[in-house]
């Protein structure tokens, strides 16, 4: 034990008083509580927009644009007016549309149609590369089906009718869209648009024909208007998962290390957009794909799409 000192208080010291101490304490606490409340109300940390892959068009415009794009007479996918033929069912579009070796232009999602093709790095361009096109991968996947993953696309939509939403859980990796087979009247009543709205039919058709990107764009457009729309939510999730798997199959193991394959001087002459530029800036030569996906904070599908595009353009390379 250390030194034990006893001191006598000086005469000026105020004596203790119970009541006064209490009142001081109570006042202090009340003031502090008030301040806290005000501070909590003032705090608004969210000053930035969220990064998203969803095109900025309003759903109506988007849907219209989608329809305008789909003028391809071969597919005729969006010409249908007959109700009750939505989704993969016995009356659905024939399989040859899915398996066609060269996908028609209508396969492209409207917002990315102009930028669908991927090119090797080239010198100065006025228009940037808008991240790798989704449909290009889907088409490429059809041309050279990879083991396991590609069977997702080559499913025969006429072979098995998908289970109805009430028929129980569908396996996560099943391709079939979990939408009603007959008509749209049985769809969730919360949809603000008419049940037989062409956008819904279009979404399901695109999904059924393996145009997951197109279906995703339409699903997100619908969700922009009705965030609770069950079919659109389901379709969005399935498309996102399927497309992610496709990109993953192309990229390979997520533990591969990513390196930039072009010199720093050449980078600025590439045709990239700022998202691809951002991802490129995160590549330090030691991080894996998995780490990069975490660090980017981008929606996973968008990050995978960009990475695939960069790999396709030979801007990056992967190694074990």
């Amino acid at each position: 034990m250390g030194p034990d000192r006893r001191e006598r208080t000086s005469s000026f010291l105020e004596p203790l008083e119970l009541e006064d101490l209490d009142s001081v304490s109570a006042e202090g606490s009340a003031a502090a509580a008030e301040d806290d409340g005000a501070a909590a109300e003032d705090a608004d940390p969210n000053v930035f927009d969220r990064i998203t892959a969803v095109p900025s068009e309003v759903p109506a415009a988007l849907i219209a644009a989608t329809k305008a794009q789909d003028s391809d007479p071969i597919s005729g996918l969006h010409e249908r007016t007959e109700p009750g033929l939505g989704g993969p069912n016995p009356g659905a579009p024939p399989l040859e549309f899915v398996a066609a070796p060269s996908a028609p232009p209508s396969d492209l999602p409207p917002v990315l149609a102009a930028k669908a093709e991927t090119r090797p790095p080239r010198r100065r361009t006025t228009k940037p590369f808008r991240s790798p096109s989704r449909p290009s991968l889907e088409r490429a996947a059809r041309r050279t089906p990879a083991p396991q993953k590609m069977e997702l696309e080559l499913v025969d939509v006429t072979a098995d009718a998908p289970p109805s939403p009430t028929s129980g859980a569908t396996p996560r990796d099943a391709l079939e869209v979990d939408l009603p087979t007959r008509g749209l009247g049985g769809l969730v009543p919360s949809i603000p648009m008419p049940p037989e709205h062409p956008a819904l039919v279009d979404m399901k058709d695109r999904y059924a024909t393996g145009d997951f990107s197109g279906a995703l764009v339409i699903a997100e457009g619908i969700l922009g208007e009705d965030p609770e729309h069950e079919d659109a939510l389901r379709c969005r999730d399935r498309c996102t998962e399927t497309l992610s798997q496709m990109y993953l199959a192309r990229l390979g193991s997520l533990r591969q290390i990513i390196r930039v394959a072009v010199s720093q001087d050449q980078i600025r002459w590439l045709s990239l957009d700022h998202r691809a530029g951002f991802l490129l800036s995160l590549i330090d030569g030691t991080s894996s794909i998995d780490e990069l996906l975490d660090v980017s904070s981008m929606p996973r599908l968008e990050a995978l799409r960009i990475l695939y595009g960069l790999l396709d353009q030979r801007v990056i390379e992967l190694s074990d």
């Binding site: 203790l16 008083e17 806290d36 904070s297």
Partner: protein, 607 residues
């Protein structure tokens, strides 16, 4: 002898060191860095990120990334520091069940010690990976101004991380320990610590035989390297806006890149006269044109941008000397701590103020962790060749009439200790007094930290000033404070034992320990699975590459077809095992695949 690691748990970066033989070693993390950002994040997928990886996404995932948790640890919800943090932090700070502070990430709420424990756990893993053995004991450093609650919260964080925190020591003391390691001298030193987020200046006396005493400590908890980065970012953003009319602050991805580039440029300018900041495709315009940012920053520009920040540290140094009642000439050496002290302008300012060249014998990023490592080794060593005395970090006393603070145990008093003072009643016939036990240096009671309170009743009725109450403060060697109030005439007494609290109950800590252990088990399992999966994938790729050659080599022979079929089956089973995430199943398949590959290679070689 059991290993003890020393951890510098910093506001922005943490560092871990250990004494190997007689040499202190700073342990590098997996990325090869000696410091790890004290940043924790949760991704959209619910994955926990700690360190560099968390820092690299701190702007693009700002709401779910916690930085500078140290500013909040052990603080009460209604403290001014917490209010300030609520206003300035990008993550959500909410009130805890015990008027403590909690942080919301995604859909879960975490206590601050829990967040700090994630950083400590990372440091523990780094040390274990290096040593190849489990580490249990640790010494953790805290700022000298931390009160008992903050120290206890730091200790709790260590416990949650699975560490037995055998000592909490002051950062300047640790720095002085590393500085004086192996030397035997009496010296008064100033420790100038300009880190990533905070600035501290402490004056210490280093006595012969390793006695270290903090004489004064002061600082600014919102002044550090990040402020220097912010000035560079402003310079870049303003220049870009002038040129293109676009505010880069509005785009998170651009801002993240700017921050990384600013920090890099700042570091480079400590060794170079100028550096180029090159950020291609920083933003896309409305016309879909990608714009690049390219500027050259030179040292004079950086110094003009940050001169006032450096000046602020000098003003605080003046205050520290005034608090220590020492003149500049009495400071015999200046120890530099923190990465920012590498900046030439900072070194010039320090040498200008203290009128001597600062000591550069210790690494500014590592010195605190090294000191903690040295202390850790000393604590478990049988031969005690160094005494590091525990002192009270703040004065202890009670509140008296008029909301005044009456000090009983002064700051920096060596523990164990006991002090007694006598007080009187303030009113006639007063029969009770309330004793509020406080900690701090302010003369106003409400500006100090309330540690506990109790009421002494049954006082004899008498005129005011006639009843004498003896108040005794006692701190034992474990830092537990006991306060007793006694009516000297009647002997009526009442006491309280004050144990510092982090704001967490023992049950909560227990749960958090279990959760942290579960997380570690899961993490190690995932790492093992990923390792074996990668091995399997490499083997499968190699086998599949050889399939055509094998088919050609074996032709139509039955045994060949059978071997091929078996190989394909093994590949399929491996894929299924990977899909089911079964480590043991994949391990089994790896053996089979390895055999298959050996056989294939043999066939190809013979063919």
């Amino acid at each position: 002898m059991e290993r003890v690691i020393g951890i510098d748990l910093g506001t922005t970066n943490s560092c871990v060191a250990i004494l190997e033989g007689d040499a202190p070693v700073v342990i590098t993390n997996r990325g090869g860095y000696k410091t790890t950002p004290s940043v924790v994040a949760v991704t959209e997928a619910g994955k926990r990120l700690v360190g560099h990886i968390a820092k690299r996404q701190s702007i693009t995932n700002a709401e779910n990334t916690v930085y500078a948790a140290k500013r909040l640890i052990g603080r009460k919800w209604n403290s001014p520091q917490v209010k300030n943090a609520i206003m300035t932090s990008s993550y959500s700070i909410v009130e805890g069940p015990h008027t403590d502070v909690r942080i919301r990430l995604r859909d879960k709420t975490y206590s601050v010690p829990e967040i700090s424990s994630m950083v400590l756990q990372e440091m523990k893993v780094i040390a274990e990976d290096y040593l190849g053995e489990t580490v249990k004991k640790a010494v953790i450093t805290v700022p000298a101004y931390f009160n008992d609650n903050q120290r206890q919260a730091t200790k709790d964080a260590g416990t949650i991380a699975g560490l037995d925190v055998i000592r909490i020591i002051n950062e300047p003391t640790a720095a002085a320990l590393a500085y004086g390691f192996g030397k035997d001298f009496d010296r008064t030193v100033a420790v100038y610590d300009l880190g990533g987020g905070t600035f501290d200046i402490s004056v210490l006396e280093i006595g012969a035989h390793g006695v270290f005493k903090v004489i004064s400590t002061t600082g600014d908890t919102f002044l550090g390297g990040e402020d220097f980065d912010a000035r560079i970012i402003d310079w870049l953003v303003n220049g870009f806006q002038k040129e293109h009319g676009i505010d880069l602050r509005q785009d998170r991805m651009a801002l993240q890149r700017l921050r990384d580039a600013a920090e890099k440029a700042k570091c480079e300018l400590s060794g170079m006269r100028e550096t180029e900041i090159n950020l291609p495709f920083i933003i896309s315009t409305g016309r879909n044109e990608a714009l690049h940012l390219q500027r050259v920053l030179d040292r004079p520009t950086l110094e003009s941008l940050t001169g006032d920040l450096i000046e602020r540290t000098v003003d605080i140094c003046k205050q520290a000397l005034a608090d220590a009642r020492l003149g500049i000439d009495e400071i015999e050496d200046v120890v530099l701590v923190g990465g920012m002290t590498r900046m030439p302008a900072v070194q010039q300012a320090v040498s200008g103020f203290f009128r001597r060249e600062p000591n550069k014998s210790v690494h500014p990023d590592e010195v605190v962790a090294i000191g903690a490592g040295i202390q850790g080794a000393a604590l478990v060593r049988e031969k005690q060749d160094m005494i590091l005395l525990d002192v009270t970090p703040h004065a202890l006393g009670i509140m008296t009439f008029g909301s005044h603070f009456e000090e009983l145990i002064p700051q920096n008093t060596t523990v164990p200790t006991a002090r007694t003072k006598t007080f009187t009643t303030s009113r006639d016939d007063q029969t009770a007094v309330k004793i509020l036990v406080l900690q701090g240096e302010s003369a106003k009671a409400d500006e100090n930290e309330l540690l506990g309170e109790f009421i002494l009743t049954g006082l004899r009725k008498a005129k005011k000033g006639h009843v004498e109450i003896e108040v005794t403060f006692e701190i034992n060697s474990d830092g537990i404070v006991s306060v007793q109030a006694k009516d000297t005439e009647t002997g009526q007494a009442q006491s309280i034992q004050v144990t510092a609290s982090s704001g967490l109950t023992q049950d909560e800590i227990k749960n958090m320990v279990t959760n942290a252990q579960d997380y570690m088990v899961e993490r190690r399992t995932d790492e093992r699975f990923e390792g074996v999966k990668q091995e399997a994938e490499t083997l499968m790729a190699e086998i599949e590459r050889l399939f055509p050659e094998i088919e050609r080599a074996v032709g139509s022979a039955d045994f060949g077809r059978d071997a091929l079929s078996k190989a394909k089956g093994a590949v399929e089973r491996t894929r299924a095992a990977i899909q089911s995430k079964s480590t043991s199943a994949v391990e089994q398949q790896v053996e089979q695949l390895a055999r298959t590959l050996r056989m294939f290679k043999g066939v190809v070689t013979r063919g």
